[in-house]
Subunit: 412 residues, 2 copies
């Protein structure tokens, strides 16, 4: 998917999740965060949008995951998603469930839609009950803040952040049936990031007309190539959730795999999710740079994915990148422990354009040039196994003092 | 193994790898390390010892692994093992192999034994050729340094260290057939530690009489409960190797599983390997404390092991322990992503004696007491799943600023 398809989408630098027709958004500070940063936000669609979701595979799933699954399964349609940060509402038992249902019901009432057409998401600390008086106060105020403007989209993007330093959003347009279709997204990181079937919080809006089942299948496929290919710290959250909503207001004929523009739409959605996923990796806790691992020559794409994720997840590789140390020995050690078929005699490794290993033998390279390259804000590690046609790309970040600092005292 | 057996071994605080009858050891500085610390060592047995080895499962296996496998397979007997630190002789191609064979041959000549009765081990930086002139110079000097004293054993223990801060050794005695049998061990860590079928370097000497096959099987079983249950950073080395040598000089009748004292011997060997494994975890790169994870109530021991290793390997759990933050939410998130059957409603978590979660519900606890406990030099995390009889224990360490510092500039 996306491979070999000429990109037909256009990036809209001023676009946001409110650009697709039919969507408003907003955000505000209701009092869950200790600072005055936004901590409650919503996206609302003026018509029932076909919806799809992918969720964490963690055995311990937070209360909002249960509520959102129920909403999307009820009729496959969503009018809104309500999100809080500062508290994950995870491991909070029956009270946590009741709180998530109350968030859904109260926000549905506030905007005049059925409760089962509202999704709920939460992110933040695990194991503490939501301060529901603050949440409900925020829900009363929120409808008046909703707008289809860039600023309102920005408020939403801010409201879903926790330890993230930057908001994460993207918008593209793509021509379907000669109509301009928009796809936009917002997401947040930035710790407990090793998505397994989903990521932390991600939201995609589009005005494309597309059936719920087709959207669900496509979202799953795209997730496997994007959000499921990033890691910050190897930990999978209890609250991972990616929700897509399609208003259908662009006026195209319904997208299915048989539609002549299916590939263009799929490629545009993949781009949106890839931008959001890479933004999460680059803004990983404590990170100073984005690291990309490109594997080729594996026996299969699945095998390449496993190897790419092992390399990108290695604490030793991540520390070496932080220190701008061209320590390819750690890269090959990670390749070799991925549990995949690898010929130990035929591996090439490049850091950007700098060849360090060819056919598994060290190549003399310019250490100063390597240092300069590794000091940049993006580092690409190329691994060619010369063992087949499998390829994969994974994204992550470096391991830094700040990662330890942030996580040594997260609750306090 | 060891479960339900009353311990019949006695720890010998002044014992070392030279305590079992028939063994000498020694170490010196030959010039591979930039400091003047020892970097070449050997253990020599006065008779051909039955031998067993377990090795890294990393696809990229260093040259000495190949040579040692060949030696042990040749006749199952070893007279000596020669070890260098400061250079792993990994990813060094044909020249690296030739160098490992030359180390073996030259040391065999120097002590007058057949080359195929010598094992070789190396540890240090990957991808650089050994400075063989220095190694060979050291091999000439080494025989004169070999002795059966505690000090000579200490020289060996020092010679195998890399970033380790402390040497790791242990010695026990156990009565077999009314005879005093000794088992001793030495090991080194302290990064790239996530053993998969073996560990970094470990050496066990014993004067027990035991056949090669029985020793190999037992060593494998014990490794799975000890060295394979530690992690420092999730990375598996190219040089992991554990070698055991049994001189048979204690005079017991040959140990087999049918021997009445088999369980006592097995338990003593398990203890030796557990002490060495825990010492590696406690001295993990940058570590300030030993972390132990005890899992019970899993559906099987294998399942408990997988969960224990996931918790001990979580960067978020490790950072929280460093910060003395009783963040049990990260522990349960790790339990939930281990890919094992877990009932999300029945989990208890304790930090030492401090209950933080009962039946998956938060329990109010004394934060000051928790802080005090987590500031100690050993932290035990208890997880009870209430889902079966499976138990496991894993060991690791905290994730600290110093881990990042050490690994941001290892080569330079």
């Amino acid at each position: 998917m996306g491979q070999g398809v000429k990109s037909s989408y256009t990036v809209m630098p001023e676009g946001s999740i409110t650009t697709p027709k039919g969507f408003k958004a907003g955000g505000l500070h209701c009092g869950l965060k200790k600072t005055t940063r936004h901590d409650l936000g919503a996206i609302v669609c003026e018509v029932p949008a076909t919806a799809a979701g992918v969720y964490t595979m963690n055995v311990f799933q937070a209360a909002p995951i249960k509520v959102t699954k129920e909403s999307i399964q009820a009729g496959g349609l969503l009018r809104a998603v309500i999100v809080n940060s500062g508290n994950a509402n995870a491991c909070t038992g029956k009270q946590g469930e009741a709180d998530a249902y109350e968030m859904r019901g109260k926000f549905a009432d506030a905007i005049g839609v059925p409760a089962e057409q509202v999704a709920v998401a939460s992110t933040g600390v695990i194991g503490e009950l939501l301060k529901m008086d603050r949440v409900l106060g925020g829900i009363e105020e929120l409808p008046a803040r909703l707008a289809a403007t860039y600023e309102a989209g920005d408020d939403f993007c801010q409201a879903i952040l926790t330890t993230d330093l930057t908001k994460k959003e993207v918008c593209v347009s793509v021509i379907i049936d000669g109509k301009e279709v928009h796809i936009a997204g917002a997401s947040k990181g930035s710790g407990m990031i090793h998505p397994n079937m989903a990521t932390m919080l991600g939201f995609v809006t589009t005005d494309a007309a597309i059936g719920g089942e087709a959207l669900q299948q496509l979202l799953r496929q795209v997730t496997d190539l994007t959000f499921n290919m990033i890691t910050v710290d190897g930990d999978t959250s209890t609250n991972d959730m990616l929700v897509a909503m399609a208003s259908g207001l662009a006026g195209n004929s319904e997208l299915t795999q048989a539609h002549p523009d299916w590939a263009a739409f799929a490629d545009a959605l993949r781009y949106v999710c890839e931008v959001l996923a890479k933004a999460i990796a680059r803004d990983g806790e404590g990170a100073t740079k984005l690291v990309e691992v490109q594997v080729r020559g594996a026996v299969s794409d699945d095998s390449a994915q496993a190897i790419a994720k092992t390399v990108i997840g290695s604490s030793l590789v991540k520390s070496a990148v932080f220190g701008a140390d061209a320590n390819w020995g750690r890269i090959i050690a990670a390749v070799g422990r991925a549990g995949q078929p690898v010929n130990p005699e035929t591996v090439d490794i490049r850091l950007g354009d700098i060849v360090t290993l060819e056919q598994s033998r060290p190549v003399g390279f310019d250490e100063d040039a390597a240092l300069e390259y590794l000091k940049g804000d993006t580092v690409v590690i190329h691994v060619d196994l010369h063992g087949g046609d499998g390829t994969a790309t994974a994204w992550g970040c470096d391991l830094t003092y700040d990662y330890v600092r942030i996580n040594a005292a997260y609750r306090t």
